[in-house]
């Protein structure tokens, strides 16, 4: 059963093609991450899936419906965590969460959601007075208060400190464990690696690669990077299988105290995919 099914999605803004033919399939219960540099089309794609933006071409099904015509009952089944919001600044956290909870047929209790995002101590504070990271947690609370089957998270941890990010990841894992399908966009590769079952890299409006964090962009088959010191200088090789090379090195008098064997990180793979300088 697919939660999101996209074929040939296109969107053009005044002659600029922001999205040029994307195919995506996200299964129910899956955590799917969309990566890509700024301007790659991530937010446009997500906003089309959320029903916030019209598409110019292609087929889109989200929870079985077309988001462009999705009605109230459809919107009750999705949750959206927006980017860069400044609304409800003069309301308290609890007032806003309660208000939004009241829009759904079967919401979680407001205080429970506030607790889940770790804002219990701030629940009586005006949203205006919160830090950037706390403000984002309010957005997350508002996104999940309606018990969505599918949750959209657009760069959710921007502005979080490391500890808050870990807490947030735990929350996402807990939601995923409940069976919530999650579509995440992020700039942070460790976040994608920690959370996503599958991911896709978007470059210039197209999907450059798709896979699991372990296999993306041929990462599993990319071999290893072996470095060691020999005759006072550092040597590096990229064998497909490092075993033979290391066996050979052991037999010579190379200085193996400095030997390192690394596999390409997700970041290396990603940077190669988007064509950036390492």
């Amino acid at each position: 059963m697919t939660a999101i099914d996209v074929t040939g999605l296109r969107k053009t803004y005044r002659g600029h093609e922001a999205v040029r033919g994307i195919d995506l399939a996200v299964a129910r219960g899956e955590v799917f991450a969309l990566l890509g540099p700024n301007g790659a089309g991530k937010t446009t794609t997500v906003e089309i899936l959320e029903g916030h933006r019209r598409r110019d071409g292609g087929e889109v099904r989200v929870l079985g419906d077309d988001p462009a015509t999705g009605g109230r009952a459809w919107r009750a089944r999705i949750g959206i965590v927006l980017q860069d919001t400044e609304d409800a600044a003069d309301l308290t956290v609890r007032e806003m969460v309660r208000h939004v909870a009241g829009l759904y047929p079967d919401p979680r209790p407001a205080d429970e959601v506030i607790e889940l995002v770790g804002l219990t101590e701030k629940s009586a504070s005006r949203i205006r007075t919160l830090s950037g990271g706390q403000r984002r947690r309010v957005d997350v609370a508002l996104g999940i208060v309606g018990r969505p089957e599918l949750l959209f998270l657009d760069e959710p941890t921007t502005g979080f400190d490391p500890q808050a990010r870990r807490q947030f990841w735990d929350l996402i894992r807990a939601l995923a464990a409940e069976g919530v399908t999650i579509l995440l966009t992020t700039h942070y590769l460790d976040e994608a690696e920690a959370l996503a079952d599958r991911l896709a890299v978007l470059v210039d409006g197209r999907i450059a690669a798709e896979g699991t964090p372990a296999t993306l962009g041929g990462r599993a088959a990319a071999g290893a990077k072996v470095s060691w010191r020999e005759n006072g200088s550092t040597r590096t090789e990229w064998p497909a299988d490092p075993t033979d090379l290391i066996r050979k090195l052991v037999a010579t008098d190379a200085d193996l105290t400095s030997l390192t064997v690394t596999r390409p990180t997700l970041e290396d793979t990603y940077l190669t995919l988007i064509g950036a300088e390492k």
Partner: protein, 269 residues
């Protein structure tokens, strides 16, 4: 999967209005410039021109008190709605709500209740200032009846026009300044700031007659001033029937403009 029913538009609209009212009273700028400003102007104008004009036992300050009710409603309905919608579009409120099951009708109902509450409070403040400070007398039951339909038509017309105009505002921060241009302009030519309106060139009165403000001010003068004051009106009459017609027409025009121009978010880039 749960099959619980979606909350009704009425229910969510009332819940929305609570949030709208909370946000309004917590926003000092809105309270001072939208809500308190008409009363402040009334105090100022009433004090400056109080004795400069005296006819049929009516002082200029009493005339201002009656006419300024039109300004009060313009401010609480037209400006609150126009600025509020532009801000909601700008700060993500509309985008957030559009991603929830809230129907548009509930959102607009919330705003409408806010506007009604503010307008009733605004008129109460202006009438109180008029009665307590400038010695305006309260009308009889028949005049209150006229007041009731006049108030409703004025609030509805101004609210709908506020919604329609908000679609033209590109940057929310400029909304207050932009919306106050027609508000101030129309008050000068509609007999709110300058009365008798017959002091104005007749072509300007003709221009004003196409817009609601002139009819609102004239109607409120009928409600709160002695009948003899009708001789100072443009037609020498209170013209209640025509007032109802013009305001009713603006309600229809406003509704059509709303339906044509309302959008949840900024237009696609």
């Amino acid at each position: 999967m749960s099959v619980a029913a979606l909350p009704s538009a009425l229910e969510t609209g009332v819940s929305r209005s609570r949030v709208e009212i909370l946000q309004f009273v917590r926003d000092r700028t809105a309270v001072i410039f939208t809500f308190a400003f008409p009363a402040m102007l009334l105090l100022l104008f009433g004090s400056i021109f109080g004795k400069s004009f005296d006819q049929a036992g009516v002082s200029a300050s009493q005339v201002y008190a009656a006419s300024m009710i039109a300004y009060g409603i313009l401010s609480t309905a037209f400006v609150t709605m126009g600025v509020g919608l532009a801000l909601d579009r700008d700060d993500g409120t509309l985008k957030r709500l559009h991603g929830t099951p809230m129907p548009v009708a509930a959102y607009l109902l919330g705003k409408l209740i806010l506007v009604l509450v503010l307008s009733v409070a605004e008129v109460a403040v202006l009438v109180l200032v008029g009665v307590l400070i400038f010695g305006m007398t309260l009308p009889d039951a028949g005049h209150w009846l006229t007041f009731a339909w006049l108030f409703v038509l004025s609030v509805v017309a101004c609210t709908l026009l506020g919604i329609a105009v908000s679609g033209l505002v590109k940057r929310a921060r400029a909304a207050g300044a932009i919306l106050n241009v027609p508000v101030v302009f129309l008050q000068f030519i509609s007999g709110v700031f300058i009365h008798p309106i017959t002091m104005l060139p007749s072509w300007l009165v003709t221009v004003a007659s196409f817009f609601p403000v002139k009819w609102m001010a004239q109607g409120f003068r009928y409600v709160f001033l002695p009948d003899g004051m009708r001789t100072l009106e443009a037609a020498g009459q209170w013209e209640l029937g025509r007032t109802a017609m013009v305001l009713g027409a603006w309600c229809v025009i406003g509704l059509v403009l709303c339906l044509v121009t309302f959008r949840w978010t900024e237009r696609d880039r």
